[in-house]
Symmetry: C2
Subunit: 375 residues, 2 copies
């Protein structure tokens, strides 16, 4: 089935919408949460376990897969779905985010360092052509360009791919941000052209940039909306606080082509979901629920519970009553408490299963709420 997007219902209370993204590997009900499986696996689960949890879209990182195992091996395996044995849809990014994080550090690092570059050791050159960086695996120089990123993503064969973009640091002057935005638009256009040489059933989402500047965000929406992308991701710096993001998104979303799906990059904590679903976001990716799981933070209706909290040692019931996940139907929170205390990897498996199941159920509830215009 070729890629297309259906809108099933629009809330009368907000811009939230209920939809269905059709892809060659099946349907993604929207709004939905996308778990991050950087290296072609969710951490501490195998991909058939993930299928059984009902997670409809998985995010893999081109930067990591490019360096290990590399696109040639994935191509020879018959593509990423076959290589990692995932039957449901996959989205890959361009690799740009990770490469520019090497150059500028993460937003958190950067805020701490007041905008001084901290970790530019691995990026050798950034110019119009692309980014030259050193592989963290073997030190070999790797040139990432709009074209090479798309070619890698062609080898991987994800259902949805993303063009290369520049990720300027948060602490950047307006003029520099503007120049970066123009380059990002040129790179996205080159990516789109490379993609259209051989679409092979994949969809490509543009990435809207412009930082927290309303005019630049508007410009980015205008420029990219004129190009035949299949969907629109919102990327770049979303602000240093959540309120900056909550302020920016309501002006961006109405400027995107309404009939196309959109995606919010890198955001998926519970508070942000509650705030952003009413803005009309269709999909969200985040490593939050899986990373929280590995730190022993178990999601619940009340927000969550730390597995290692002393009070759990004697709780022989499930993490949450009524939860139908594998973990809650088979194991007690006292046992999870013990496994975390004993530093057993099994703790990570069981906590990850629970948190992902929680996200799948949470998104179902959002969709039910939209269907009834409760949000």
């Amino acid at each position: 089935m070729s890629f297309h997007f259906e809108i099933l219902h629009r809330s009368s209370k907000s811009r939230a919408r209920l939809g269905r993204i059709h892809t060659p590997h099946g349907v993604i009900d929207t709004p939905n949460f996308v778990a991050v499986g950087t290296n072609g696996t969710l951490k501490a689960l195998d991909n058939r376990m993930v299928d059984s949890i009902g997670l409809q879209l998985m995010f893999c990182n081109t930067y990591h897969l490019l360096l290990q195992p590399g696109p040639e091996i994935v191509r020879r395996a018959g593509g990423l779905h076959r290589f990692i044995n995932r039957t449901m849809p996959i989205i890959t990014d361009s690799g740009g985010f990770q490469v520019f994080s090497l150059a500028y550090g993460s937003v958190a690092d950067e805020l701490k360092s007041q905008g001084k570059r901290k970790r530019d050791g691995h990026v050798m050159k950034i110019d119009e052509e692309g980014v030259l960086f050193r592989s963290y695996r073997d030190g070999a120089p790797v040139l990432l360009t709009p074209e090479s990123s798309i070619r890698a993503q062609k080898a991987f064969g994800a259902d949805i791919i993303i063009p290369l973009d520049e990720h300027p640091p948060y602490h950047i002057g307006l003029e520099k941000l503007k120049r970066s935005l123009d380059r990002t638009h040129r790179w996205e256009q080159r990516s789109l052209e490379e993609h259209l040489k051989n679409p092979q059933g994949q969809a490509i989402y543009a990435v809207i940039h412009g930082g927290v500047d309303p005019d630049l965000r508007k410009e980015s929406c205008d420029v990219l909306s004129r190009l035949p992308f299949d969907g629109y991701a919102i990327g770049g710096s979303l602000g240093k606080t959540k309120s900056e993001m909550y302020e920016m998104l309501p002006s961006v979303l109405p400027r995107l082509p309404d009939e196309k799906p959109n995606h919010l990059l890198g955001i998926g904590d519970l508070e942000s979901l509650e705030m952003c679903v009413p803005f009309g976001i269709d999909t969200f990716d985040s490593s939050y629920p899986t990373r929280a799981a590995r730190h022993g933070f178990l999601l619940t209706q009340e927000g969550g519970v730390k597995a290692e909290q002393a009070g759990n040692a004697n709780c022989f019931g499930p993490i949450e009553h009524g939860c139908t996940c594998w973990t809650c139907t088979h194991f007690s929170i006292a046992y999870l408490h013990h496994l975390f205390k004993a530093k057993e990897a099994t703790a990570h498996i069981l906590a990850t299963v629970h948190n992902l199941h929680f996200m799948v159920e949470r998104m179902k509830r959002f969709r039910d709420d939209i269907a009834c215009s409760r949000i």
Copy 2:
């Protein structure tokens, strides 16, 4: 069902025998391999996955469970089976092995240090009463005696339990070894008496000691065979080389009560299994297959293969053709190679599933071979 042992067939070619140990939690076909789940879980698997692999007996360590979560919590949970959600049989040890390893180091450490004590920091006192040591968790002193070990094992409620024994270092003079053996026999008798106050359907196996001295091994068999143990484990120092063990076992086994099951403690690599099944060993425990899995060593008919070996990067078939395990039926060795290279915990899950399935199948083959007197 109360504990008993059936011998179904004796090989005409060796002392190997085919049997069935009945326990309150089901049957253990013998000879069989016992996986080690120190903290109440096999590393990187959950106990329902272990059930599905068909592993009939799991070994848990009293030393670890005593310190975390402690016997009281397990008792309140309704026993170890309920706490860890295992439906099939469990065996626990006395805790002695780990405590004495703290005092003398492992045999490997000790051989390197020529018998000088290396790590006695945590053991505070060893006397006729028992061993006083410091908890590695909170530094609190813990007194392990024959009675306290049995009481902990009563709280855990494993199907098979083991009396406290002393583990003298390999480098010990004959006189000291003899005195240690006498103490071990007294401790085992005290353990048995404590157990018989409240058998609660558990079986208790004696532990035969005597190091590599044939006369002391003989004495240990004679002393312990006169006591009403339900089975006999062979423990203590089995020698510094495998050949010392292969020399010792054929003289020990004929001295054990033939109608009772026996167990070889801490041995379960493929070569030792092939050598020791013909001696008439009924069960073997070892962390070898699970530890090997985490190091990327995958067991095969030909001995095994390193997942990270460069040649596997392009092998899109299973670890071993014909293997029916979850890993081999769903994933390629190229994917495992990638997961190990990318240091993903999923690699440990998939490799452990394969190695345990391999052990289950290997033991079935031993049993088939005994049934036909091929070994």
